[in-house]
């Protein structure tokens, strides 16, 4: 166990990592709100044994205002919101909790160890001309089921480097398209060119050790075998931060990240 490691990515970001011993697990298992990534089904298979990393993600300063979206051109989408919808660049929870942060084990998982992709697909819903979830993770080979809940055309353009880019469209409500990703990549950008404000980000991982934070800013990565791991937190506006965590046995450790808003 290495005690404390600081790793600062980008001079303007403040980072604190606290790794204490066993702590009564806050277990902020994010409720299945549409904004959080469904926990990959595969992770439960390996969680029987192994350690857990939990944490909470916050930011300091004032969050930038999310631009309002003028949906007047798509009446069907506009009707789904009581007030003017906004973009989801920085979604903050109570006490400066930061949602939509993708946290994953960047390195430390023994090479050669493979994890089967879960059979259940991750669902990406286009509803009200926004993506739900906005930031999420998926395993290599796991299905991404893209569905359209709007009666208008959406196209889903995946901008990827390690994976084959794709661009599919769904002109009517109820359409479903499934795609898979063949290589790990953090992050793949998804966008809709018909509605320029629609963006989603997805992390493709070869293992189930990842999570995305919900409105309360907390995450939990379970089932890690003993070892020393570099974990990284990614946010679309605030960049990335990394921390090193060593797991021995079935203990639970905490890794908190704090990003700085300007």
């Amino acid at each position: 166990m290495n005690g404390r490691i600081f790793s600062v990515v980008g001079g303007m970001f403040l980072l604190t990592v606290c790794s204490k011993g066993s702590q009564s697990n806050v277990q902020a298992a994010p409720p299945s709100s549409p904004l959080t990534a469904p926990a990959p089904a595969g992770s439960s298979d390996v969680s029987a044994a192994g350690g857990t990393i939990t944490g909470k993600i916050k930011f300091t300063g004032t969050a930038p205002r999310n631009p309002a979206i003028d949906m007047s051109e798509e009446a069907a989408c506009k009707a789904k919101y009581p007030t003017t919808p906004t973009e989801e660049n920085v979604v903050a929870g109570p006490a400066n909790a930061l949602a939509n942060v993708f946290v994953y084990v960047k390195s430390g998982v023994p090479a050669g160890q493979t994890f089967p992709a879960p059979a259940t697909p991750v669902v990406l819903d286009q509803n009200g001309c926004r993506y739900h979830p906005h930031v999420f993770g998926i395993m290599v080979g796991q299905g991404l089921e893209i569905q359209n809940s709007d009666p208008v055309l959406h196209n889903i353009k995946a901008i990827a480097k390690a994976n084959r880019p794709f661009n599919v469209s769904q002109p009517t409500a109820g359409m479903k398209t499934t795609r898979t990703f063949a290589a790990p990549e953090v992050m793949v950008n998804l966008e809709c060119n018909v509605h320029g404000w629609m963006h989603a980000y997805l992390g493709v991982r070869p293992d189930p050790f990842f999570a995305a934070t919900g409105p309360d800013g907390s995450f939990s990565i379970k089932g890690l075998p003993p070892g020393t791991y570099t974990i990284e937190a990614w946010h679309e506006k605030f960049g990335t931060q990394t921390a090193t965590v060593t797991i021995a046995g079935t203990e639970s450790k905490t890794a908190n990240f704090t990003f700085a808003a300007h």
């Binding site: 055309l153 196209n155 353009k157 901008i159 084959r164 880019p165 794709f166 661009n167 599919v168 469209s169 769904q170 002109p171 009517t172 109820g174 359409m175 479903k176 398209t177």
Partner: protein
């Protein structure tokens, strides 16, 4: 290559009078007539493919977003829940145009009839280069297969229209097409090679292999048209090939000929494409005009009215065809002064076109008209080509082009020229020379029913497109109903779709007639249409090598109802009257060396 491997046994086979194997005779043939027939079957197949794509386009435009019958067989990259996807719709319009222009109409007119008719009509034993001719066919088939293959590769075929405007076609990240775009380019390069080889062959044959007495101005207008078309082909296709290679490089090698982001020129593609593309339009209509001229003279039992001006009109159209390409680019941001120049040259094309139409009318004037199926289709051609030609004037006048450009109006125009024009001419030509190809006649009764139904449904399909185009419906849009200004005219789109389905269904009459008559058609007499052409001095079908001895030609091709014909109303080019002297054989070209 196969041609070499098979060429030697042929010599022995002929010497021993052994019957040629099926493969030698029908597959790896160097006989211009068999190659023409091969082109006929292959391009009729692609005509069917193009038609099937058109039906899907019409389904989507008539009933946007509703599940298409039979759509279940399409993969989810093309249709979800049997609903056509926008990307597949764009592929449909792109490939419909590609197949129809490059693999149906062009090979039907040029591949089939330049091959089949030129040697027969000028009294030659075969093409100047029979093996190059065979290579031309096999390259065309290869190109067609490559193009078809693009439906089965990841991301499917092209999505940028048959015109492949760059930078959309040059940037896989913007078009979403990867392999399909490369296959399009490769296929076009191969097809261009086929066309150039074929065209060189036609040009050489016409110049060097005319029978004694077949002077330039005794050539039938069909041969004139095919000859001029071949000259257009040999000059135009290489431009397209060059452009396709550049487009391929942009896609594969990372060059940026057409991508302004890295210093390329987006309009360069349009200039190259239309510099080929407009002569191509005349490649698609001149042979039709030529064959229709032959058939109208025959059906009217009269010489063609103003033969010489008909020849000069063909040459005039072909020449003007090289200086009008900019009229496809009036809205492109090209310098408006250039637009003025292209407008004037474009409007001038109306002059030779008018000469042709009025001369056909003049031919029918005071004739003794026989309404056989080819004649009916030829008259259909004249009346429909007239509409197609006149509707072109709207878009040639640049200010009027502004609201009409890239709307359904241009779709109506191109179909009046290519379906009403070229395809009616092909129905006429196929029926007319069927006995020469297969020794049997197509059914006259089915042919007439087919003509009338096609004529009616064709007009019901394409005429209303002018109106929805005037209303502003843009080309290649997947769902017009999302526009408030287009919604009121959606019933007309539905109407067009029904008419189009009927039009497609009627074509099975033709297919049935064509196939059924191969085996059960009436045996053709020697000269079933009582025509003057050299080809009718031969048995039906004509043997390999055509004539045993090179025939003599005694007069022009249109001596119908000539006084010296006596009680008959036609006087073939090969008939020697007591007053005729044998022509002096021309010295063999290049034979002295």
């Amino acid at each position: 290559m196969t041609s070499v491997a098979h060429a030697r046994p042929e010599a022995h086979g002929d010497a021993q009078h052994a019957p040629m194997s099926f493969w030698r005779k029908y597959i790896f043939s160097t006989d211009h007539k068999i190659i023409g027939i091969q082109f006929l079957f292959v391009s009729l197949f692609f005509l069917l493919v193009g038609g099937l794509l058109a039906m899907q386009i019409r389904w989507q435009l008539g009933f946007p977003g509703t599940p298409m019958p039979g759509g279940g067989i399409l993969p989810e990259t093309m249709a979800v829940n049997r609903v056509i996807l926008p990307e597949y719709y764009v592929q449909l319009v792109s490939m419909h145009g590609t197949f129809m222009v490059f693999f149906a109409i062009m090979p039907l007119l040029v591949g089939v009839y330049a091959n089949f008719l030129i040697p027969l009509k000028i009294g030659a034993h075969d093409m100047a280069f029979p093996r190059i001719n065979m290579a031309s066919f096999w390259l065309a088939l290869l190109a067609g297969l490559i193009m078809t293959a693009s439906f089965f590769v990841p991301n499917g075929p092209i999505r940028s229209g048959w015109t492949n405007y760059a930078p959309l076609a040059a940037r896989p990240d913007l078009s979403g097409v990867t392999v399909g775009q490369m296959l399009w380019c490769v296929s076009i390069v191969v097809l261009g090679l086929s066309s150039v080889l074929g065209s060189l062959n036609y040009i050489t044959t016409v110049i060097n292999h005319r029978a004694p007495g077949m002077t330039w101005f005794r050539m039938p207008l069909s041969v004139w048209a095919l000859f001029i078309t071949a000259i257009l082909g040999v000059l135009a296709l290489p431009v397209l090939q060059g452009a396709a290679i550049m487009l391929l490089f942009d896609n594969v090698l990372g060059t940026h000929f057409f991508d302004p982001v890295a210093g390329g020129q987006a309009l360069l593609w349009q200039h190259l494409f239309w510099f080929f593309g407009h002569p191509e339009v005349y490649i698609l209509i001149l042979p039709a005009m030529g064959m229709v001229s032959d058939i109208i003279a025959n059906g009217s039992r009269k010489p063609i009215f103003g033969y010489h001006s008909m020849v000069f009109a063909i040459i005039g159209i072909a020449f003007l065809g090289w200086i009008v390409w900019g009229h496809h680019m009036f809205m492109s941001g090209m310098n408006p002064t250039l637009g003025s120049t292209f407008m004037v040259s474009t409007l001038l094309i109306a002059v030779p076109s008018a000469i042709k139409v009025f001369n056909w009318l003049g031919t029918m004037w005071r004739g003794n008209l026989r309404f056989h199926v080819p004649m009916l289709n030829a008259i259909g051609f004249v009346s429909m080509f007239t509409i197609g030609g006149l509707s072109g004037i709207f878009m040639a006048a640049t200010p009027v082009d502004i609201p009409l450009h890239d709307t359904q109006f241009i779709v109506a125009h191109i179909h009046y020229v290519l379906f009403g024009g070229s395809l009616f001419a092909l129905f006429a030509a196929i029926t007319y020379w069927y006995p020469k190809m297969f020794g049997r006649m197509m059914s006259e009764r089915i042919g007439k029913v087919h003509f009338w139904l096609t004529f009616v449904f064709y007009n019901l399909t394409f005429f209303p497109m002018h109106i929805i185009g005037m209303g502003g419906q843009m080309r290649r849009i997947y769902d017009p109903t999302i526009y408030t200004f287009l919604k009121p005219q959606q019933p007309l789109n539905v109407f067009i779709s029904y008419a189009a389905f009927a039009l497609f269904a009627v074509q099975f009459l033709f297919a049935f007639n064509f196939l059924w008559s191969l085996k059960f058609g009436k045996k053709a007499p020697m000269n079933p249409w009582e025509d003057n052409g050299m080809e009718w001095s031969l048995p039906n079908p004509a043997p390999h090598g055509n004539w045993d001895r090179t025939p003599n030609v005694y007069r022009g091709p249109y001596e119908f109802s000539a006084p010296e014909a006596g009680d008959k109303d036609y006087l073939p080019q090969y008939t020697k009257l007591p007053t005729d002297r044998d022509p002096v054989p021309a010295p063999l070209p290049a034979g002295g060396h």
